[in-house]
């Protein structure tokens, strides 16, 4: 499945969230990461995130889709992240 993760958390935890998310997904722009993920890995990611955040003030959203094919992506301005896995 394809997952887009978006987060808005207290400044103290921003860096920590980013570190967790980067293990599973590719960075796209500030506070947004996305990528193909197996259901098991997705659960692991959610678990790690939920252990860290403060449920009263932080918000993390996951857009979960069957594949990358089900949506169209349009970008205006700069493409900040890398495309694909060829560096």
């Amino acid at each position: 499945m394809y997952v887009i993760m978006v987060y808005d958390v207290n400044e103290k935890r921003v860096a920590k969230i980013l570190k967790i998310a980067r293990k599973y997904l590719k960075w796209v722009q500030n506070s947004v990461l996305e990528g193909e993920l197996s259901p098991g890995k997705y659960e692991k990611l959610k678990l790690e995130v939920s252990r860290l955040i403060d449920e009263k003030e932080d918000s993390v959203r996951f857009y979960v889709m069957d594949s990358q094919k089900v949506f169209n992506l349009e970008t205006l301005g700069v493409e900040k992240g890398e495309d694909g896995f060829i560096f």
Partner: protein, 319 residues
């Protein structure tokens, strides 16, 4: 799970529990949990700590030299160990009859795949069918290898008839170094496929050192070469035809080296991009009643071999 390809030069590091590539243009993070293997083409520095990390995350890393030849693999400590299966693998190698059964199956199936590949493109492949019969009658492995070589030569000449630009014909298979455009592309594609199969073998209980068609010896992995035979037409040869006939690849993508040719970085990364796409492409699998990717098909082939070795199901019996 993704394959990571590195063409740029820099340092590979473990950082914040994930993979970090530091280059002149900045730091790039690679999601470690989603990496199947890493293929390195550029001049990359790395340290033991990084290899330890890969080992822990079960990620093999393959190295290629400037010419695009395979150099070697850091094959992490195996995590799926089965003494039982290793014994079975050895048993099927040592017993001539059992070994021939597997080798013959690989050869005749790879012939079938060549025939299918040509038929789809409306090329008559009667002579290959003849070779298939010969292979079924072969009595030892070296005879089988000989037949395989002859058939492949004929097969490549038939592929040539599908190449519109005659500068890109194979003519004669040359290696180390390949001498013309076509041979360079096919050699590069084959070595990519070998490493992909090796990475997939790592995810099974199979030992890549014991092959059946290719001699098991002191040098290197051979099981991946066996399994790759089955997929050369559908992955490498198809990619070759597409790239050449759509003129995506041209003489600008090659550099001359002593006595031969090599793909330059631009050529390599164009090839790799299309190679990845080819592995992702799905075909309809009748038995499973769903679409499966090329990569999963390779994995399924390995599982079939595993089942054959432990005596659950004869290799190539179903469908």
């Amino acid at each position: 799970m993704e394959s990571v390809y590195l063409f740029s030069s820099g340092t590979l590091k473990r950082k914040a529990n994930t993979i970090c590539l530091e280059t002149e243009s900045g730091r790039k993070y690679i999601p470690v949990e989603n990496v199947m293997d890493i293929k390195v083409f550029g001049e990359v520095d790395l340290n033991k700590r990084f290899l330890e990390f890969l080992s822990q995350k079960r990620i093999p890393i393959h190295f290629f030299n400037r010419e695009g030849y395979y150099v070697g693999t850091f094959y992490p400590r195996e995590y799926l160990n089965s003494g039982f299966l290793i014994l079975k693998q050895a048993e099927h190698y040592i017993n001539q009859e059992k070994r021939m059964l597997i080798a013959r199956e690989i050869v005749s199936r790879s012939f079938q795949n060549m025939v299918d590949f040509l038929k789809k493109r409306k090329v008559r492949a009667d002579s290959l069918t003849r070779y298939k019969k010969k292979a079924e009658e072969a009595s030892n492995v070296s005879e089988l290898m000989g037949i395989e070589g002859n058939a492949r030569e004929e097969y490549y000449s038939m592929i040539d008839s599908l190449v519109s630009d005659e500068r890109f014909r194979i003519e004669k298979r040359t290696r180390r170094p390949p001498k013309n455009f076509a041979n360079t592309l096919i050699s590069f594609g084959n070595s990519l496929l070998y490493t992909t199969v090796l990475s997939l073998i790592y995810q099974t209980h199979l030992d890549p050192r014991i092959g059946y068609l290719h001699e098991t010896n002191f040098r290197r992995f051979s099981l991946n070469l066996d399994i790759a035979e089955l997929f050369k037409p559908a992955v490498v040869d198809r990619l070759f035809l597409n790239l050449v006939n759509t003129r995506q690849i041209n003489e600008k993508h090659f550099d001359e080296i002593s006595e031969g040719l090599m793909l330059n970085d631009e050529g390599k990364s164009l090839f790799v991009k299309n190679y990845e796409q080819a592995l992702r492409e799905t075909v309809f699998h009748k038995k499973l009643n769903r679409y499966v990717s090329m990569r999963s098909l390779i994995k399924m082939e390995l599982h079939k071999l595993e089942k054959h070795l432990i005596g659950e199901q004869v290799f190539g019996s179903e469908e």
